[in-house]
Symmetry: C2
Subunit: 449 residues, 2 copies
Amino acid sequence: MARSPHALDFSKARSRFLSRDDNPRAYLERRIATISARDAQVHAFVTLGLEGARRAADASAGRYRDGKPLSAVDGMPVGIKDIMDTRDLPTQMGNSIYTGNQPRWDAACVHALRSGGAIVVGKTVTTAFACGATNETRNPLDLTRTPGGSSSGSAAAVGAGMVPAALGTQTQGSTLRPASYCGAVGFKPTHGVLTMQGVHPISLTHDHLGVIAGTLDDAWCVASHVSLASGNPGAAGLQGASAVLPTARKPRKLIVLHTKTWESEVEAPARAAFEALLQRLREREVELVTRRDDPHFAAFEDEVFGTFIDRSVDITSYEMKWPYEQYAAQHGDRLEQRVHDRLARAREMSAEYYAELLAEKTRMKDRARDVMGVADAILTLAASGPAPVGHGHTGSRAYLVYATFLGLPAFSLPVMEADGMPLGAQLIGRAGRDAELCALAHWVLSLES
Amino acid sequence: MARSPHALDFSKARSRFLSRDDNPRAYLERRIATISARDAQVHAFVTLGLEGARRAADASAGRYRDGKPLSAVDGMPVGIKDIMDTRDLPTQMGNSIYTGNQPRWDAACVHALRSGGAIVVGKTVTTAFACGATNETRNPLDLTRTPGGSSSGSAAAVGAGMVPAALGTQTQGSTLRPASYCGAVGFKPTHGVLTMQGVHPISLTHDHLGVIAGTLDDAWCVASHVSLASGNPGAAGLQGASAVLPTARKPRKLIVLHTKTWESEVEAPARAAFEALLQRLREREVELVTRRDDPHFAAFEDEVFGTFIDRSVDITSYEMKWPYEQYAAQHGDRLEQRVHDRLARAREMSAEYYAELLAEKTRMKDRARDVMGVADAILTLAASGPAPVGHGHTGSRAYLVYATFLGLPAFSLPVMEADGMPLGAQLIGRAGRDAELCALAHWVLSLES
């Protein structure tokens, strides 16, 4: 098992809507049946909106009957991470400060999907404010394991086949890690190309909108639709946004990124799975280069992991002053210690120091463009291993921070397994080259079949 | 009368707090007395929070008693434009879609001011979503005239002496125009240096946070405090942010911008006032250059006004898709026709066209830096005349869009009058050089004394 056996393929369902062999309402009812059967154990959803979903599905069914679907996501049931505002469902941020909170708008990403006919089934469980340690969600492939976080419910809902796709966010590893753990495709586009308006922030320079889906096709389609329907003020949008998946393209050369945590965090089954993947790529004549082959990349990797990612915690902490400082002042007992720690760090920082860090981050991004120019993409793990047993934490961030910190597009592809659980391969591209990366991801996934 | 005769000077009050000749609670009570006397006619406030304000004033008074004020804004009563979220007061956006809306956080700018001890007196009237035509607020200097908009209540509250300073926003002319009409100082820093988090958006590439105050000192102090206490994710912050006003500096050379509307919109009294100001500057040996003296600037001015500002309406329209498209779908009858028109235009636009406009805007900003390099700043009117009589609209945007579109820092300085009403001189600086511009503004204001 690499891809979750429950994972759905909406593009196939949509063909059947178009040929009238199926319809969005019937499709939704099957999803609701899965939710009814499994969510008491999995806890993917914090709030369901089935009445509204059924109304939206009927409207979508009418459009397919008339041969006039609104878009490629018309009729797609989706889960929405509960830090994203929804005008008809509470938005509770995974924290009791927001119990019962009812926004008067849909976040821009939610509005974009709805305007294309997608059906909001419900709000998915998040860790507190998407930066907390854990929550009630369980891995649908093994209830004794974590689904990962912070987009826990979005990944679990997709992994369980409750919905074909769900929205998440990633500030460190919150989309790709749970996607990897739950046997789904995770996609975190280039920082800034998708709108975060109406989504509760952690750190705007690090927060990314992400998509978790059963297939690459659906992940691409959802991200594309959000970009085309909403745009992001001041940004050019997702490269090559389209309802059509970019044609598979074989990479000529990949940089293989092990990171220092390969020795300390990655256990034998995950190592074996990754080495087997590398072997398959070599057999297909993909050139693989490591830090031993490319001293420029090695030096850059050392700088990123050795010094800068830790300092990026400072950037995040500084940006968390709003709104977390006021939560701490009024509801301090409802915040996890890690938030208080970040705020304490922020209080020690000056505006000048913050500005220096930003300037250095910009230089690192420029250097990333240069050092990555020698290859098509970077290949690494999407997580340090399969979903850990237990529910005390949502997994390591070690393999996720590189692409997040540098704002690079990244996919988690369910092409490996370890301990009988899925494990994602992470493909990281150059900033703004999301469609080109997706074409490579398409090819890597085709190795499976 | 140039500066409103009612305008307050908080920096002087603060000296008296420090010397214990006055205290924040007593100062607040005098402001409340003014509100009680005048706001039934002026309608500057849509919601008052006097109980909370008195508690905050008592706490501030305690800090001054202990010799430990939190900042230069400690004890300053402020008005907050009602598109800015406040956790303890409704935030109603000037539109019935948001009647009774109660956020669970303070917008970042509000939190910044409160964390420095400033006292939120209430929410000031805005036009609908800061882009509507008019509202119930009246000009405190002449009730038959408009106070300007969209930050109508903020300017009226300052012009009436109800508060020494208030927060506004400017997407086209919404801070500097009402400041000019009400005899106050208006300050719109460089686009992006102050945070808009928690403020209802129109168009993020055009929306600026602004300050309206009785004195330059207070305007600078408020903007500085917001920058230092909050920062803006991804931005370096306000240049030279400090509680201390930059020392006055005489400009060597100013570009005088008349714009084409000088002929069509500016009437004799306003022309005479501006010409008299220019004469005073010449007498002080400030070199004044016009489009006739500088063909490069003339060509740039023609391009900005002749072609690009109209196309910036397209950028704004595209960005208004969220959240206005959903308001139109659900509450279409509650939106003004101009919003529907913008959305109709947005529906005709492609993502590619939007991206092209953004790229062109960036090029225009780069050119602005070059053509402005020959002078210290641009001098023009802050409004095409004094506040118009009547309440059907909030005045012309003709003199405001230049600095707003290009994201340049700008001050409205109450140094002229026409028809017995104040009229602001607008000083426009280079992007990111806010403190340098403030030093020039300081000098221009000193011409008055």
